[in-house]
Symmetry: C2
Subunit: 153 residues, 2 copies
């Protein structure tokens, strides 16, 4: 019955959705989606990782990884290389174009960050970031890995 004002959890959910949507709109202009950005980031951080590893670390279904990598490969952003010891695995690496595009994504991300936080003064941003990092650590959220909105097991 109490007309409750939204708490921290709801505000996070609201603002998080807003941030994700706006970021999605920005990377769309680069022909990407947020999940594809996550894939590029992960391959950049761990060049040569297999599709299984990628699926495991990002929480994606293997069949979905195939579709993503197909897409990125056809666009010349990623290469698949058969393993020499185990010829079943596909090792993933970024092409020069992929690295270039990821750099653009990072720039876009920086602009997004700045625009989204525009209302906050520098010291407020630092405060907020510290609090959010604290909270994220307490929930054991891997830095840079998005929990996604449906593929939680």
């Amino acid at each position: 019955m109490a007309a409750e004002s939204p708490g921290i959890a709801f505000l996070l959910s609201q603002l998080g959705a807003q941030a994700a949507t706006q970021f999605g709109a920005r990377v769309e202009e680069l022909g990407l989606t947020p999940p594809l950005v996550g894939v590029l980031r992960m391959i950049s951080a761990q060049p040569g990782l297999s599709q299984q590893q990628l699926a495991g670390e990002l929480g994606l279904l293997p069949s979905k990884v195939v579709a993503f990598v197909d897409d990125l490969e056809h666009r010349g952003l990623v290469t698949r290389t058969r393993g020499t010891r185990d010829r079943r695995v596909q090792h993933l690496t970024l092409t020069a174009g992929g690295t270039e595009l990821l750099d653009e994504v990072i720039e876009v991300g920086a602009r997004h960050e700045d625009a989204f936080c525009q209302a906050l003064a520098p010291d407020e941003r630092a405060q907020l970031k510290a609090l959010l990092e604290h909270l994220a650590r307490s929930h054991e959220l891997a830095p840079g890995v998005h929990p996604g909105y449906r593929w939680i097991r």
Copy 2:
């Protein structure tokens, strides 16, 4: 090329998804989903509103509202009443059971809030909440209305 650490926007997106997922798991035990909770909340805040109004305020498709209200009506949580002046509109109100269930949802929400922020001291929570409210206002997010994750036009 820079190995950037996640910024505020990404942390918000990460934590927001986590908060939403955990809240969804809690209300699932009450037989509800987050969107259904939003519908119940809105009807409680504006008893007698029409389905069109509900769709407009929550950003839902009219056909989706029909499905939601069908569901809630069949469970005896909401009633439809034809308008007397304009017999096309359906006025929505909560039943006693609906109000009761919403009260439970609010309790669940309070427990969720507390659990989610467990790592933060009371003064940190107050700080964080103030910063988030500031940010939410700057993005013109209506208090209590979730922007959702797909139905942005």
